[in-house]
Subunit: 302 residues, 2 copies
């Protein structure tokens, strides 16, 4: 026997310390005093350590005894928590929920949602990953996440449930003082094609790469994230569509200029959330519910 300590003994020890008496502890635990005495004696014997000073009428904890009570309480709490966790997760709560978010969306509003969730269910792990364009669908499809929040482009098949929770406006934006600013508005295709377009790399691995509806015959510069794309626009390296909510700062400071196009409306993309149809997880349901209640404005962090 490596450790002679038992949780029952720790419970008894705890009760004695709180009630300051063997008899009172016995009552609390629905046992007779002699049973308490037996448990403590056994623990002392097994440990070969005196836990109580019995020279007085009332038994008093020795310093070591006090320490065991204190540390023991931590252990008892841990087991109670473990029991609780186990019951929760056995009753339909996931042990972890993996959320994949399109990098077109801002993380911040999701953070506060996660914080809220974590307050209620601190034992459930939330794993957040980021993908660009089709990457979120791909992550869901290949089982790398349980819930995707992302740009549109629906997936075929009946494995997933998808809900549109809003739309994102895209506008054609270029750097201030960009040559295109001097051209006659609205801009034509020919004008635009003279400048490279900035494309965010599709992080899809399994799915066919999505064209993202870009103009043809134009030089392309591929960047790994939406942030880098915005940066590239600001540097004047290229031109293209950007989601309004991510560039409000740059538009306000006139770092980026929105330009009207002859052949394209300012485009709208649907914002989806999607998850496995037969995923009955309650944490998933919690997030789906909250996300649907959320105002688009909150999610985009205008």
């Amino acid at each position: 026997m490596i450790s002679p300590i038992t949780l029952d003994a720790l419970k008894v020890l705890d009760a004695i310390e709180r009630k300051k008496s063997f008899a009172a502890a016995a009552e609390e635990l629905f046992r007779v005093p002699s049973a308490i005495s037996y448990t403590i004696n056994k623990l002392e014997e097994d440990l070969a350590i005196q836990l109580f000073d019995r020279s007085k009428r009332k038994a008093e904890l020795t310093p070591v005894g006090k320490m065991i009570v204190e540390q023991g309480r931590l252990i008892l709490n841990a087991t109670d928590e473990l029991t609780h966790m186990a019951k929760q997760s056995a009753s339909g709560w996931e042990l972890e929920l993996r959320i994949c978010i399109d990098s077109i969306l801002k993380f911040k509003p999701l953070y506060s949602l996660i914080a809220l969730f974590h307050e209620e269910y601190p034992w459930i792990d939330i794993r957040l990953t980021e993908e660009v364009f089709g990457g979120t669908w791909d992550a869901l499809n290949s089982g790398r996440c349980d819930l995707m929040i992302g740009a549109d482009g629906d997936i075929s098949g009946s494995k997933f449930t998808a809900k549109i929770i809003g739309t994102i406006d895209f506008i054609f934006a270029v750097k201030e003082n960009h040559p295109l600013c001097l051209e006659q508005k609205p801009l034509t295709d020919a004008m635009i094609k003279k400048y490279p377009s900035i494309v965010v790399a599709d992080s899809s691995r399994d799915l066919p790469t999505r064209s993202a509806g870009l103009l043809d015959g134009q030089a392309r510069i591929t960047v790994p994230s939406i942030d880098k794309k915005i940066e590239a626009h600001c540097q004047g390296i290229g031109v293209g569509y950007l989601p309004i909510h991510r560039i409000t700062k740059e538009l306000n400071s006139k770092e980026l200029i929105a330009l009207p196009l002859r052949d394209h409306e300012n485009r709208q993309h649907d914002l989806y959330i999607a998850w496995g149809k037969n995923n009955k997880g309650k944490a998933l349901a919690w997030f789906v519910n909250k996300l649907q209640q959320m105002e688009m404005r909150e999610l985009l962090d205008y």
Copy 2:
């Protein structure tokens, strides 16, 4: 029953997971397979949670089961550690050691000693307090500390063991450009008495205040710590003796000037460590041993 989990069940669960088999776990725990089966069945029943998937020949942990194994190991470790701690402290190791150090000494070298100690005995708490002059003796005398490291002035009686572990040199030092610098050397009492002396408050509460051997008939400015005294000297507010090792920086930068005195040698104070004679604590012994081995230079942090 609040938590049906028992440490024994967690041990069994751990063994099964490691050995990947009920039978192997049984062997490891010197029980028959049916006993293992019984323990697991009981735990599953009490928790009302399926811990193993028995559809295959080899029982496999369910996700919840895996979690319980993982968390359970933490709990098992904690109990093992608790047992260890208890045995250690019952075998003569203190649960905490209170060290009181004279503020004349630097804390830093003691910190590394404490760090070293903490590496070997992480469960023993070290409480470090600081006192000025007689304060360390007083702290020891009144039971506020177990070990004092400090300036001299031996205590009468046989309650304590004291060891001299070195000496500290004190010199008479004043601010650069202080009027005393211009006087003829060596300085006489009369010259010094014109300027206030800086006295560190004796934090003693129970013991008669110690005169600290200062010149009489001189204005006194009382400061609460050695640092404030050095500061006061640097500001030219007063004059007096300072421990060399605490003012090497100021002496090198000529912020403070050491001056020779006619009537006093540069004084030496013995550096003591002392502790209760019948304190048989092993942590105390460890520190006493290490402190005696330490070079004065290390302790003063020259």
